[in-house]
Amino acid sequence: MTELPPLTPQFVLVAAALLVFGVDTLLPDRDNNTLLAGIATAGTLLAAGTAAWFLSAGTGDAQFVQFDGAIIVDALSLFFVVVVGSVGTLVVMASHDYLDDADSVAEFYALTLLAATGMTLMAAANSLVTVFISLELASLPSYVLVSYLKRDRGSIEAGLKYFLIGALSSGVMLYGISLVYAATGVMGLPAIADTITAGTDFVGVLGLGIVMLVAGFAFKTASVPFHFWAPEAYEGAPAPVSAFISSASKAAGFAVLFRVFTTAFPLDVIAGTVIDWSLLFAALAVVTMTLGNFAAATQENVKRMLAYSSVGHAGYVLIGLAALQSGGGAQNSLVLGASMMHLLVYGFMNTGAFLFVALAEYWDVGRTFEDYNGLSKRAPVACVAMTVFMFSLAGLPVGAGFLSKYVLFAGAVQSGFAWLAGIAAINSALSLFYYSRVVKALWIEDPRDDLSLSGQPTGLYVAVLAAAVGTIALLVAFDPVAQTATHAADVLFAG
């Protein structure tokens, strides 16, 4: 019996991207939208399915090290391949209708698949070299995807700002990598931890390097202080791309952040001598979630509100790193697992919410809360789904967002970070205000007289409903998935 290589999901994604290019080259004159969307959906679905299968078969426990230790396949990387793959599937399905009359659809699907490859590799990167390269592999296609509508000024402006801040943060991050290399002389994450344990002469250089590394991760996860591209990029980009970047790219950024800081700079090695980064992340978490939620509360544009709420959610997830303690043992796995869990749930509910915005853009109803008035009279099913997303994002028990937030905050309290959990809970309560504004507009307000919805966007509808089903299914089946996430964190700490 032959065995599949541990990197099968990544291979599948690359193969699907090349197949999309190939089909478009061989059949240039036909309208290939449906065929290409089918290939891309199959690719992402297969990648997510393979990773889920590996995860349930226990492949992740073994820690397959590839390419001289530069790539590692363990439970954490497989978990995030599932997140990226399922978000990618929803996004590609939705893009089919969104791109109905666009001219270069093949590039769109191929770039989405290549970006997904980069994100899955980010989750598997085990050396600063692969961290940086996979980060760029995820970023470069994303810049192009954001500015995909090349005759739309908003899309170009969004792409420009995303690119400028991305280039700046990757420059800062690379300089950080060079400083860490200067201090330690190695690139592999476990080797860096060993060198620091043995002692280094360049403590100051190392500390500065670690802080600069955070810049790159803060950009990718849309956390303060590199968050200010997020509202523009999410608002101006095509809505499926906003969904992809705000869910999958953020999850991948957190995956690599978790691995780098727990493997290369473990707290018990580094906290006393170089820098206590859990404090740094606690401060970032507080600022990020507060800024995100307050800014979201003042928005009139639904997409922009979702963008700032995405910044706020990055703040919640950062609690997972902030609440780690040296020698925390099982408690550390619990908190980090809760963060990963929240990212998975967030992948479904946030993607769904952005895809509902895509649906509204498809129908041309407008972008503000008022434009959404009375949509439930015309499209009740999609509006039920949107209501589920909104309440789940706010943390009400109609979706899995309730449980993942609860576990995360409870984990922080148990680790002795009750103040952090308290701030998060206050923020979460505030978020109910602006999420329920959408629900109020959809269900309670009366529609404009001329509101009519034309077109049958089947793919969009299916994607929105699938995301809603996923959000609710995770609420019901929370336990096994949470155990998988905690186990993945266990494997990470043990490695």
Binding site: V129, F132, I133, E136, L140, Y143, V144, S147, K150, R151, R153, G154, I156, E157, A158, G159, L160, K161, F163, L164, A167, L168, S170, G171, V172, L174, Y175, I177, S178, L179, Y181, A182, G185, V186, M187, V205, P231, E232, E235, G236, A295, Q299, R304
Partner: protein, 100 residues
């Protein structure tokens, strides 16, 4: 032999020039050049300390970085081209249709 601190100072100076350019230049092309300076400052560190530590991973990584920088410029120039077509200018402060 040149002490290692000199390499660190040189790369820090190049990096700071890059950051200064990023913060002050309004032309998107000058912005790209400034980012290149930042990336190359990291390259100086990598090569210098590759020699200092006696392994080649820093030098090998620098080659990757140069390729990545070229790819980034390619994507960036594409975006700047569409920026010019839409806004008739490559001043990065002009594109402000969205505000919080």
């Amino acid at each position: 032999m040149v002490p290692m601190e000199y390499y660190l100072l040189l790369s820090a100076a190049v990096f700071c020039i890059g950051v200064f350019g990023v913060l002050t230049r309004r032309s998107a092309l000058l912005f790209l050049m400034s980012v290149e300076l930042m990336l190359n400052a990291a390259g100086i560190n990598l090569v210098a300390f590759s020699w200092f530590h006696g392994n080649l991973s820093g030098q090998a990584f620098t080659l990757f970085v140069m390729a990545l920088a070229a790819a980034e410029v390619a994507v960036g120039l594409g975006i700047i081209l569409t920026l010019y077509r839409n806004f008739d200018d490559i001043d990065v402060t002009n594109a402000t249709t969205m505000r919080w």
